[in-house]
Each structure stands twice: as C-alpha cells, then as structure tokens.
Amino acid sequence: MNTFYSKWLGGKKGVIELAVLAAFIFIVLPLWLDIFRLNMVGKYLTYAFAAVGLVMVWGYGGILSLGQGVFFGIGGYCMAMFLKLEASDPVSTARQTTPGIPDFMDWNQVTSLPLFWEPFHSLIFTLIAVIVVPGVIAYVIGAAMFKRRVSGVYFSIITQAIAAILTILVVGQQGMTGGINGITDLKTLHGWNINSNSAKYILYYVNGALLLGVIVLCKYVLSSKFGRLLLAMRDKEDRVRFSGYDVANFKIFTFSLGAAISAIGGAMFTLQVGFMSPSLIGIVPSIEMVIFAAIGGRMSLVGAVYGTWLVNYGKTAFSESFPSLWLFLMGALFIGVVMLFPNGLAGLYNSYLKERLEKLVLKFKQSGLFKKLNPVKTELQNEQ
C-alpha cells in the first residue's frame, strides 16, 4: 500500500494533483458542458496523451521529438483499420465492384484486401497493435539514432523528416490507406454504435480513465531508479555514461514509452471523432503537440493535460469569436508562454499560486473541522 501510495501516486502532492485532475475531467467538465462540447474536450484529451508522452520524452528524457504525431497517427490508423473493416461488410458495400473491402480501396481499383489489413479483423490484435506497432517503430528509430548518439536538434529534425515521410507515404498509397481523405465513415465497434450520445459519454470516461492511468504509470516510472537516472542523464549525460550505464538504452525505452502513450491517444481519437486522416500525423500536429506540453509545463505530467485543454479551448473559442483574427491570438499565446512562463502552467502555479494555496490549506488544517473530517490522513501526515 505504501509503495503504491508513494511510488505510483507520488505521495501526498501527487494524490492531490491526480484528485484535482480527476475531478476536473470526470465531474467539472461533464457538469459544465453539454455532450457536444464534452465530446470536443474528449478529442482534446486524446492529444493530451501525446503531450504526456512528450513530458516523458522531452521534459525528463531531454529528447525533443518533432514526430510525436507519427505515433499518434499509427495508433489512430490501427484502430481505424479495424473499424473500417467492420463498416465494410459485404452487405453495406454491395454497390462496389468488389464488395467487402473498404470503399476507398474500391475507388482505387484495389480488388482484394492488402495482406497487412487482414489481422485487423480481430479486435484483440488491433488493441495490441495500437500499442506494440508504434512502440516497435519507436524502438527501431531510437536504436538507430541513440546508439549513434544522434541528439539534440539533430534528433528533432530527423523526427520531423520521418513525420514528412510518413505523411507522403500515407497520402501516396491511397489505395491502401485512404490517402489524404483518411479512413472515414467509421460507425460501430463490435456492433456498438460509436456515434450515439451514450457512446460518446462512455468513450469520454474511458478516455479520461486511460489518461489518468497513463499518468500514474509515468509517475511510477519516474519515481523508480530509472526516473532518477533519466534526470541525471538529461543534465549530465556523459557522467551517467561514465558511471557505466548504457545511456542509449534508457533513451530508447523512454522514446518507445512516449510513442506507445501517444498511440493510445490516437486510437481514442479515432473512436471519438469517427475518422483518422493524415492531417494528424504530419509536421504541424507534431509541433502542436510539443506546444501543448510546453504550455502545460514540460516537466509536469498533469500540466500537460491542462496545457492541451487550454490551447485547444483557446483555439476553438478564438476561432468561433474571431474567425479572422484567431491566428494572431494563438501566435501571441505561444510567444507569450515561451517568453514569460518558460515552465508553462506548472511553473506559473509553482511560482504564484502554490504558496498562497499552501497557506490556505494550512489554515484549513489548523481549523478543527479538518481534523474531524479526516483523522486518519492527519495522523499519516504527522508520522511523516
């Protein structure tokens, strides 16, 4: 129990952080927003997976990946392939030259299902693929790069080029991938209509729970010896290497972990939005994901979630109220955060709000009410 509390949840501070985030996602937002807006937030929160992954890779690992969209996209495409196969049963595609294959294949004169699509008939395989495929790809890329000590800006630009390559490939091979349109018109998951309102609610909560789960997992990784090494490596890579550790392996692991986390987000995106397109795997979305993490505070796992939410909320609100000016406001937001709050929302919280909040909490604790309400926890605190 104690290890779980301190390692997985990150002690008292961690528990409060998580509880506030959970309350925000599960209670505040659903009460505040109607289903349409809530579904939109659900979409934003799928990007938060990528941002959380970036906190691990960039914030703690010190590797800035400008290709996080690649993994988000692969996860999303895996899920989309499964859903598309389910939507392309011979009855509903009877109009096609070759019934039973996805509609875009038929438009591109593909007459039989490509081999790599076949396993995606199985949901179990798909769920495994969502995590494993991006993980393995990240492993290969990471192994090739980190073993050769490609680092810093070079790594960033290479990942950006990989994002460009994948986009060109997906767009170019449209008979197999749906091209620029992406894989669209996804309807059911094992017969369950993912477009109904109830499904949207359920998916939103599943998404939120997964997100919290991923954050807890990351906290555990960071609180282990591995996490401390990661930090040491980021600050003085050579010293860690001279101490006999294989730095490359740690980086590869972090990069693969970040990739797998982003991919979960991608899969949830497909489920909640109902399609997947190459516009989510390219360079622009990848940079946006970095911005989400930066605005949340690149060292803060929960901050990444708030950052993602805030930027996307801003994007939507600005573009609805000032259709022709919203890019100015977005641009200004990015510049402002980088210039004034380099540690993002988390930094803002730490330097301005934290002290005040702590004083408030202290006052509250000293009042008798708290002791009555929560005797066990107070004791625990006294022990520490």
Partner: protein, 307 residues
Amino acid sequence: MDGYSISELWSILVMQGFSGLSLFSVLLLMALGLAIIFGQMGVINMAHGEFMTIGAYTIYLFSKVTEQYFPSLMPYYFLVAIFAAFAIAFAVGYLVEYSLIRHLYKRPLDTLLATWGLSLIMQQIFRSVFGAREVSATLPDWLMGSWQPTPDIDIPLNGLFVMGISIAVTIAVVLFLYRSNWGLKVRATTQNRIMAGSVGINTKKVDRITFAVGCGIAGIAGASFTTIASTGPTSGSLYIVDTFLVVVFGGAGSIIGTVSSAFSIAQAQSILTFFLTNAMGKVVTLMTIIIILMMRPEGLFTSKVRK
C-alpha cells in the same frame, strides 16, 4: 527507349541535368539563410519560410506599383525589388531578434516554439494585407521563356536566373563570413561567446546582425522563387522541412556543407523523380538522408564548435 534518336536522348539528359541544377539552386538559396541562423547561432527559426514569403510579396508589390505608375521600367524593376526584398526581410529580422530571439539564446529549443507562434502571426498578417488568394507578380519578359542552344534543348530562363542569384548569394555569404570584419566577429562569437565578449566584441550586436542577414537572405530566396513557384500566405511553410534537412545534412555551421548537401539532395531527388513517381522519389531521397544522418550524426561536414 525505341524510336528515339541519340540526339533526342542527349537533349533529355541535358535538360534533366539542368532541372537537377535548378532544384539545387532553389534548395541552396532556401538553406543559406538558415545555415547562418541555425548553423552559426543555433536558433531554430520556424518562421524562416515566412521571411521568404516577405521577399515574395515584396516582388509582387513592386511589380504592381511599377505596372501602375512606371510601365516603362517593367524590364528593370525586378533587380531593384530583389534588393528591397533583402532590405525588408533584414529589417523585420532585426526587429524580431531584438524583441524576441535575444531573450531565448539560452534555450534553443524554445526558439522553435516562439518562432512557430511568430510564423502563425506572420501568415495571418500576409492574409489580412494581401488576401488569402495566391498572387502572381508580373515578371519582366526577359525572365520568361527558354534558351535554346539546339532545337531540342530548352533551358528555362527563370531557372538560369535563380541559379545566378544563388551563386551570387553564396559568394556574398562566404565573403561576409570569411573575408569581412563582421564575419570574423560572427565566427568568434559562434566559437566562443564569452571569449569573444571579453576581447571587446559586442556579441549582442553581432547576434542581431547575423540573424537579420539570415532573414534578409531568406527574403532574396523568396523573391527569386516568385519566378518558379506560387506566392500565398502559407507558401513559406512548404519549404521549411526541406530547408532544415539541407542544413542539418550538410552539417550545421558549414557553408561548404550546405552547398554540397543541397547539391546531392537536389540531384538525387531530380533523378529519382524521373525514374520513379514524384512522391516515391521524394520518399526515397528523405530516407537516404536519414540513413546517412544516422551514420554521420553531425552531417556531412562538421565544424568544430566549443560548446
């Protein structure tokens, strides 16, 4: 290849070679400005493409004004406009360095985020001022058409022109960096900022001029691209990935590296797109670059920089 005479095949070969050279000069022009900003200063300027767009719109403005008020000067405006493109992009770059970049030198990856925001703002400014539609500058007649050394060979004049500009700019950059007093200071600052400062070089001023020169060169690049490509609010963003790749592949901080990387990428892409499809040619080129970069992580040519 039945039914073609040797001379026809020869003509194609010549023209194909030229199209590779023409792509080479395009890549080189795009990359030179960035090679200075990124290579010498370590600033990741994501708004580099937008500085090119500034140059392109300058040409457009000059062409419209000349057409309207001084139609007799149409053959000559382009030459003046290119200098103006440099000057305007230089001035904007100077301002941007002063108000934004100089606060971020210690955090190079943050320059990426801030300049990304900057590029969004600049795109919106272009859109508000010039409209969302693409525009086209009226080019002087001497830039149009082709030169025919033999009846079968057409060498595009605008390609020759871009090539000329890129050679001129490369020579100017080399002279600036390696033969001028300023260049000395720039290199000193790049290699050891503190030492440079302690011998009396105003490193802040050096940074500002270096950044502005890089932006000015982007302006020239954008100006010459109006002869071969489109001008719209977002045209600059098309080039940014290629540009970074050229610089990184060549080895940051090395002008000769940038030149040779632009050359090899251009030739590879041009030849591959002739035999493969357009998209696959590009994919194979990018893959090759990445694989070579994995083997030589610091690029083709590395300059020794003390960190």
